[in-house]
Homo-oligomer: 140 residues x 12
């Protein structure tokens, strides 16, 4: 099973950026762990700070992978274009967030992406990614 | 590890109520499966249509169990009192929803409970409950 | 034909409470009249100040009676949970109000329950109940 | 007893217009039935697509009939002028709607006319008219 | 000097309608007084409950009279079309209201017509009309 | 092919009214040009300042013509009744505006009529009418 | 008859301030004209840029003069305290504005003072003051 | 003099719950002190997490006690039903809050209960209860 | 113990102003009673209709008195500057209101001052002042 | 005459994406038809999912082509930057949309781009592009 | 070159008031430094807690100095009157703030004064004043 | 000292774009002047129309330069992602704008970027950049 993880803007700074909120670990080291956890599946990873590049990637892989785990970072709260990209592709997309966006600033409470996704896993740290993958592999 | 699942109003009707949205399976049969999935843990289950009874239960178990999985149903969108109850207890609470509340009516987009919870799993069917339990057992 | 009337919070005070708005008559005496008016039908009556109890009652009778006449009182304006309960049962529900909620305080103008009901009869005093029953018996 | 029924804009299309919402029956045929139902009362009927003509009619008959049943159609949601006309006349006016305006578009949820009327009957099909007449004849 | 007074919907009921707010005098008797007060000017008067008729009249006279005194009644709060008609004609228009619209219902606080008029006289009873005429005759 | 053009309030003043926004040409002279441009089609034209008259006309022709080009003028921003009339008839309606309503006053940004129409052509001067007719004749 | 005119903040700059909106004449020269116009009445004049001083003046004269003409300038749009002062005194107060506040910035459309006044004269230049005095002297 | 204190949801956790906001003392120990402070009066105490139970209690005692001190906890911000219950009974009710609700989350700034109460004492810790009792005993 | 009472705009009119809401007693006579009630404490009193003067007084005494009782009158609803002054001084400030601001006009429901104060006593007549003093003397 | 067509995010998926809304045809095949329709003009085409790339292209061609037809896709509803780019260039831009954005989700009703364009053609399928080109070629 | 610095309410407390936000230095000592920094220019300084006094000062000096640096403190967020005073005078005014008002309370985000000023310098501590002076002396 | 200037979308058009608002000078010529003004510091300059490229640049230089001067152009009003990027880096960022965004369109009044920056300089033309640099070099 092919599963793609997409991280949006500023998530390349994980480990450096606002460690009180996001912790001190880099996403790369976590991604290696995830791969070891699911050796029988093909996990790939993409990060970009460009809204357009995220859309391009969704189009590129969205008809061939079994599912996408998407942390759109700040674009979550502003991007109708990513919403449309998710609706336009074929595989299910699960929205994830590391922090609990509902107890942060007001403008992070609204997700433009949520209604286009199958569902979401929010606030459970890096583990949000694992749970989303869990669900894609065993959807029930 | 003791884990409590709380279901709020109308979730006793699962299997009967609006099958297009919630499916045709009862929660009881699903709960049996969950128990078999985690034989080494002590799962308990509580359902009530009464906001006050949910608060009473959170108080009663919230200092002794390792975590609570809460689907507050419609009270999600209106109850400040359950928000306060979650903040008042000691164990982590994870909010779950069977359907994707973000592509239903506007009034279901706002969760009063989310900011008081550790995180949430939304829209992944009954599997939302399993993932929440997964996280409580292996929080990372 | 079995028809259930449910009265919500504070309607037990009818006859005592704010007589300028609600009049001086108790609901019990009115209910006796209604029974005499429809001797060939089985009318029953339930009142509670508990949102949860109203939901329990809707679940209990909502699959067996021919119709329910619901005056949810103040819960009309705040309860998503009763909205969901109405959607979850099988019989039609007609919303009634004794006073004209549209010329009272702003917060009484919005009904969370109306969209889940078949229709509503508002502002026609106790007679609102009779008209709702009329319609359940002769829906056209 | 003289009772006037006023139908507002587009209700002349009943039977043709959006049959999913309004059914396939014309109002004229229904009005004949109503007359037969209440042979001892004098029912009259007026329809116009003109806001001003509805106001003119309310002024003309509003001091002589015993009551008016008003389905103001789309003017319900925009007309302060009809609101004022109702307040300016002497007989009671009951607002009716065929469909349940509360589960249609957001802009149909607000009635400018409701606060000026005695009460309203909403969502019970053509039967909404009969119930309003019922109440005018036997107000309790 | 030719001056036209236009009264909008329900103002034909003056003397009958809500005497607490509008007093018991008819506009016709007041108009006779106004004429006597300004014998050297040509005052004319038009009333209609039809938004379209008010627009037609504005077009008809708005290029020939010296000024128009307009009490648009309830259309004040809803009519963009009358706003446009005022902007489309040549003579100045002064908005008047008998009652103080700013201490009545919220929906009467907003005037769609005010920005298109030269100015307004509000809340000074019938005298609002006289003052508007005063100004048209002696603009400073 | 029969095509009807309807112009709403104040558009009879074209050529006179606010020439900065609408230009100095009358609609009649433009309509003659349009007729010459489409000699093989039957174009008709109707203008009224009355909301009700526009609705009447939509009902009258809306079941027999091939399409309607509607510039509802100021009623665009306030009329739910015209919205309903468009939904109630059979032929497609295309909304047009001479000026770009999106860079004028805030209250002109919202069109109540747009959701009921097939589409709209806005801001392209009188040419908006020609393009709408173009589309009705060659819908693709 | 004693009549007091109060001018609020920045109105001391009349003649200098934003002449496009307010003209080039000082209020003092206008006030002399007003006095000559009404020789049989005792007109007095007060200006202050201090909200508190306006309130003090209203208290001081509001029980002895026959009426007050108040142009509260910018405090019109922000002062609940002046609203309360008007309600607390005995004589009628008429609100005036030189420019038409309804076609200027959004924040000038709302008057906190209007609901406490008898009425208002808006947008008729300096003549707004004369009309207000006219009304105080001949209230009908 | 009989005085009833009602505490709403989560106030049973006082001493345990969020001690930064509410302190470490239980309400029971405070209630004993209050009783000693007013030995000549009959103080009683009721706590419930159920909105319906609070309403039931208000009905039960609201016609016999001299006054009620009500801390409705989170229901303060959501319950129209408790508002109505207060209006429906005979004795005065004083709203109290331990913490200053006006410098906490936005959703705690609005009290649905305040307009139905005689007055409120907010933010003065447990002492809010004493002051409310003080007032009931010596209302001036 | 030194305690300062500050009264804001229009409270000098107490006894004269709107007696239905504020009663017929002057604050001076009440202040004498308060002094007699607390002979062992040094009570002082200041009133001004000037926002700036209230701020000056808060600065002047706010570092030397034990507490301030502040009824900011209408400035309660508009003054960010008084909010800041309270935050800038050292002693606790308690907000009081004679009437219940929560069942008066909408614009009186919001207090800009409340979040900067320790707490508030609202709606208990003149007794609100006594209770605030009570608390300053015996804060628990 | 040189005319540029720009398509924004996800429009590369036309023919694949949500065929219920957008149809099954690719834009490329349609573009070939357009070219054949206007052999005497030089049509070029650009698509990007990157907001920045669309801005770059507007700058690049916006001083040399005769007009631009822009379907900004989802950026229509969020991009102030494209609005500014349109204002910054010299040629006219016409906004087009394939579907009727006014009867889709609320967030598609607002166009940030419309006020900067000359006009718009909305909801007429691929034909929206042809009509825009028509107008650029024969602006009247 | 004459330059005036105006400080609004509570800025006299600088050095004492909320040192976490504003630091521990008094404005007087800073003002001496500024004078030394610009010996060739004539700097003057005015502080008041009175809105009216700030307006008076703007009028007094606003026609003679070369520029004004204005920190209106809390009046920034509430004063239309200061906005008007700035518009009414001749010299440029630059708004300054010591703290970053955009990451403090919501009500500090809106400046009523900004649109009337030439520009603003915000959040750069006392240095905001120096930069504003820099600009007045060397405007480019 | 290394200082980076970043210009966002459309600022490459400076000198060409809307010269009424932005003047006729190119940023490049201004940047040369700035360099000459601060020969002892290392100024660099970056412009992009791509939100993602601005974020990339902030990440790239934000840990090595002494400060960044950021004019995010239209992204100021829409980009949560740039807000997050600023928070994620180490050096201070100062927001600048050439024009006074507070007296332009409503949608330019809100800055998403301001709360993440140290401060801002707005409306002072190109000089806004110099002042920001001034502050970075001499922060007090």
């Amino acid at each position: 099973m092919k599963i793609l993880i997409i991280n949006g803007p500023n998530l390349n700074l994980l480990g450096t950026r606002e460690p009180d909120i996001y912790g001190k670990r880099t996403f790369d080291s976590y991604f290696q762990e995830l791969r070891q956890l699911y050796p029988q599946h093909e996990l790939s990873y993409f990060q970009s700070n460009h809204e357009g590049a995220i859309i391009d990637k969704l189009h590129e892989d969205g008809f061939s992978v079994a599912g996408i785990v998407l942390n759109a970072g700040a674009y979550t709260h502003t991007s109708v274009a990513i919403h449309d990209a998710i609706k336009g592709i074929k595989c299910p997309v699960i929205e994830v967030h590391i922090s609990n966006i509902h107890n942060r600033e007001e403008f992070r409470h609204k997700s433009f992406i949520a209604p286009a996704c199958k569902g979401s896993v929010v606030g459970l740290g890096f583990d949000s990614y694992r749970l989303a993958i869990e669900h894609l592999i065993h959807p029930e």
